[in-house]
């Protein structure tokens, strides 16, 4: 079984049943996973920030929810993915308590959902918020997407 790690500001796809897609150590970041049951195509993107307004030119679209989600979904379609038969989940979006400057987690969640809605898509499962780190895992063989907070049991999404 090959573990494909989806690191900060990366997106990865696979249609091999022996693969798992994993985003480790999500803090305020969001991992968005999509799995098409009919073609067994899965994708995952690891988004860091909500808005690309902070960059002067669009040279790192995958870092941001507003530019990353469209790039990710278009690539999913290009690879043969079908939205009608797919499961979409998100995990991450943790927040620091006590300071609004650092509530990037909440902003990320809202921005990802907004970007999905532009494609008439919404999430069917989520494990978000709080202040713990998480891992999101797509098991291609079982077709199971699960999330785990460190030291806690796995949640199937």
């Amino acid at each position: 079984m090959a573990e494909i790690r989806v690191k900060l500001a990366e997106m990865r796809f696979s249609n091999k049943s022996e693969d798992t897609l994993v985003a480790h150590g999500l803090g305020a970041c969001i991992a968005l996973a999509i799995f098409d049951r009919t073609t067994s195509l899965a994708g995952m993107i690891h988004i860091v920030m909500p808005s690309s307004d902070v960059q002067s030119k669009n040279d790192h679209p995958v870092r941001f929810a507003d530019t990353g989600v469209p790039v990710f979904l278009k690539e999913f379609m290009r690879l043969g993915g079908n939205f009608a038969a797919c499961k979409i989940v998100i995990a991450g979006g943790a927040n620091m308590p006590s300071n609004s400057i650092f509530n990037i987690g909440d902003q990320n969640v809202l921005a990802v959902k907004k970007a999905l809605s532009k494609f008439n898509l919404s999430v069917s499962g989520e494990d978000i918020g709080g202040n713990n780190g998480r891992t999101l895992n797509v098991d291609m063989k079982q077709g199971v997407i699960s999330s785990r907070v460190f030291g806690c049991p796995v949640i199937v999404l």
């Binding site: 480790h24 999500l26 803090g27 305020a28 920030m49 902070v54 943790a94 202040n131 713990n132």
Partner: protein, 289 residues
Amino acid sequence: MVDKDNILYARIVNKITELMPLPETIQKIVDLTRNPDTPLKKISDALESDEAMATKVLKLANSSFYGFSKQVKTISHAVVCLGFNTIKQMALTAHSFSVLDKQLDGYYLDRGAMFQHSFGTALASRLLATKMYYPNAEEVYLMGLLHDVGKVILNQFAEQEFNKVIEEYNKGGLMFYEAERKVLGFDHGDIGSAVCQKWNLSDDIVETIRCHHNPEEASAGNISVHMVHIANIIVSIMGLGIGAGGVDQKISEKSLSVLNLKEEDISMLMMSIMDELENDETLASFRNA
């Protein structure tokens, strides 16, 4: 401050030299550079006597951060170009990479995670230092790199006590370092600080490592503690090597105010950290060294 009668603390501090020794070459360089009148040649000689270390320092000297147009080929050239303080930081940085490349089960940090968190915090600390025109950005980089070094010792030496820390933290209501303080009477910052003291590092480093979760406890003139405090938090938010405790940390308003940081600065800093992570060649070269 740790209670002077804390037996566990005393036991751990007594073991530091054995658990985390500083290589002889580096200790010699640290001690030599404490005296500003030390001739540069003495530093070069000390470094050249350790070939592996000399190679690592040359790698750092030739990294893009210093921007030399010509390759720095010899240690004596590096010492002249960079001055002995920078050389000392480089030798310590090179050594720290090996110290931090560990798996810490107690903190839910796998080997890559501890390393990534320390390296990310070092980069972010240096970015803040540069933004503030701080005169010794390399020292702040080293502070960022070493800020959690106490976790390595605690994970190794206080395994049994650590289960109680996890239990206490899981009850809720305390941040992870507060749970350490409640159960052990000290936190990983105190142990990291003791490591730096044993290594004869500067008072600023010793204090910054101790107070990185509570910068208000540091002396008024210490600016670096605020840089490392904020850097640690931003890097945790980004999920770079976060383990037990997650992003559950208290941000010091004083640090935000001292560094004059606004929301847009935090976003820009996150961007710069990602740029540096993509471009920095130090990480790869040291992990493979």
